[in-house]
């Protein structure tokens, strides 16, 4: 625990007297500061107000990982809240803030999966999991080699090297996920994907994936060709609930887009999936959500180039002066999310992008932003 950490607390719908007391306490103790609900580490609600249950529900749904302190004239039976009795006692408030402090993600044990840590602390099910924080936590968890492999550049005319460069997503978890996602979105059902000694569940509509597996375990599975006997099946809401119950309460919920992005990078490791011909002109229909999940090397530059004008993967690497595996990794992950446009090379060759008149200045700014964002 870091006793020096000042907790940002949002006091919502509390009476003026309590608010005044909290303001005074925050200024004098330095243990917490009052802030608005969107900046807060924790929320304090008045549990005696008629709208308090609604507020609690909304907060739980919209920000599942956020600790809630409930100030009330009676002990609360609501799940996952820290109860504070009226009139508010300073010691009780500080004890509650200490509990909150220990539970904040930045205090999770090193190497511990942030998502898992929060689950354990709050006893939340996957439906109540804060996915955004977990998504960011992935950004630094994996080395470039985990995402792009370490293969050297090849000659695009070397048939043998080209064959070694390709992989078939259908033989991996990636293929199952892509099919299950399309089906659940189209049919508005859920899906159950069988894995060796485990399973993944896609919720109704296929926007989220539920699993007990950590990111590192998923990476291990992503690399492993799956037995053809292990498939996936569509399921309805009741079957989904029953299957989720069998998995227990330590479920992680992933946005399906984030999971497919990660699995595609882990599976490909810088190889090109079947379905993208090496001589196809690849364009970007939409940029991937690059603030969430792992960011493969040079992803921003590749995205900018391909959204500007389609290139073959080899030409893109050449144009940007980067290893081919970086482009293959990015393109493969985008293909898994159906973000690409593919045309054939009998179209006109890609022209070099126009240089901005202030290229020198922009390059320096880009360099500064890159350095600073790593700190």
């Amino acid at each position: 625990m870091n006793p020096g950490l000042c907790i940002k607390l949002a006091a919502v719908e509390v009476d003026a007297r309590t608010l005044a007391a909290l303001t005074l306490l925050s200024q004098r103790s330095g243990r917490f500061s009052l802030t608005d609900i969107n900046q807060a580490d924790a929320v304090l609600l008045d549990g005696d107000r008629p709208e308090s249950i609604g507020l609690y529900e909304r907060q739980r749904c919209s920000h599942p990982g956020q600790p809630i302190l409930l100030l009330s004239s009676h002990e609360s039976c609501l799940r996952g809240v820290v109860s504070l009795l009226k009139p508010l006692q300073i010691e009780a408030l500080f004890a509650a803030l200490n509990a909150v402090r220990d539970h904040l993600p930045r205090h999770a044990a090193p190497g511990k999966d942030t998502a898992a840590g929060k689950e354990a602390v709050h006893g939340e099910t996957a439906e109540r999991h804060e996915r955004a924080g977990a998504a960011r936590a992935l950004a630094d968890q994996f080395a470039p080699e985990d995402l792009c492999g370490s293969s050297a550049d090849i000659d695009p005319h070397d048939a043998g090297a080209l064959a070694a460069l390709r992989f078939d997503p259908e033989h991996f978890l990636l293929g199952r996920l892509i099919h299950a996602r399309h089906h659940t979105a189209q049919q508005h059902c859920g899906a159950r994907i069988e894995l060796p000694s485990n399973l993944l569940l896609l919720d109704i509509g296929g926007t989220r994936c539920l699993t007990t597996l950590s990111a590192r375990q998923l990476r291990g599975l992503a690399l492993m060709p799956l037995d053809d006997g292990l498939g996936w099946q569509a399921i309805d809401a009741l079957q989904l609930k029953a299957a989720a119950d069998t998995l227990g309460t330590t479920l992680h919920a992933w946005s399906i887009e984030l999971l497919i992005w990660q699995i595609a990078l882990w599976t490909a490791r810088g190889r090109l999936p079947l379905g993208i011909a090496p001589d196809a002109l690849v364009g970007l229909r939409r940029w991937p959500n690059l603030t969430h999940g792992s960011l493969p090397p040079e992803a921003l530059r590749i995205a900018a180039l391909l959204s500007h004008q389609p290139h073959t993967p080899f030409a893109a690497a050449r144009r940007l002066g980067i290893p081919q595996r970086y482009v293959f990794a990015f393109v493969g992950a985008c293909a898994a999310l159906d973000l690409l446009t593919l045309t054939h090379t009998d179209a006109a060759p890609a022209a070099a992008p126009e240089q901005h008149p202030a290229r020198g200045l922009l390059s320096k700014l880009l360099g500064m932003l890159r350095r600073n964002s790593k700190h």
């Binding site: 955004a132 939409r286 940029w287 959500n289 969430h292 922009l362």
Partner: protein, 179 residues
């Protein structure tokens, strides 16, 4: 001397002030005042003039970062702010009633600016929205305005998020840029 600037815009409460503070750190200042109108339902203070910050390059050059006040009654300032700018960062609050209308509104207001520079879109508070739109929805709305631009979900308090958004903006201007 040429004035290099990046402009942040978007509706009230989308996170412009926070994003500029996140990006510029101590070199940021704002003009917040207590909200006295409908804005008060979304936050306690609002920007009444503009947000401003600077990014200083090792070479001695300065990039000026401006944030527009979100309320439409201050829109007379928007055109002035964009003069000589490098590009536009549009922040949209996913919890507002119609984020796609916000997107269309701000893109239309800044059409001429975006056409001669570049655009990057950050979606804030998507983890707080009851039924958040997908990035495909936002991309579709942009396409209907004949635009393709990076669209990321961002947390305005996260330096990495805002930095990536600005990096994407710069690379839109010149995909051949190398740091």
């Amino acid at each position: 001397m040429h004035h290099h600037k990046i402009v942040f815009t978007g509706p009230v409460g989308a996170g412009k002030t926070t994003a500029i503070r996140t990006l510029c750190g101590a070199n940021a200042l704002g003009t917040d005042a207590a909200a006295s109108d409908m804005t008060r339902t979304r936050k306690e203070t609002t920007t009444v003039a503009l947000d401003y910050g600077t990014l200083h390059l090792n070479s001695g050059e300065t990039i000026h970062v401006y944030g527009t006040p979100g309320q439409e009654r201050f829109d007379f300032m928007w055109e002035i702010l964009t003069q000589g700018g490098i590009g536009l960062v549009l922040l949209l609050d996913a919890t507002r009633p119609a984020p796609l209308n916000d997107l269309r509104f701000f893109v239309n207001v800044f059409t001429a600016y975006v056409e001669r520079t570049a655009l990057a879109v950050g979606i804030t508070r998507s983890d707080l929205a009851q039924s958040p739109l997908s990035l495909d929805d936002y991309a579709g709305a942009l396409r209907s305005l004949d635009l393709v631009a990076p669209i990321f979900e961002v947390d305005a308090r996260e330096r990495r998020d805002i930095s990536l958004l600005v990096q994407a903006l710069l690379l839109q201007l010149d995909p051949g840029l190398a740091a």
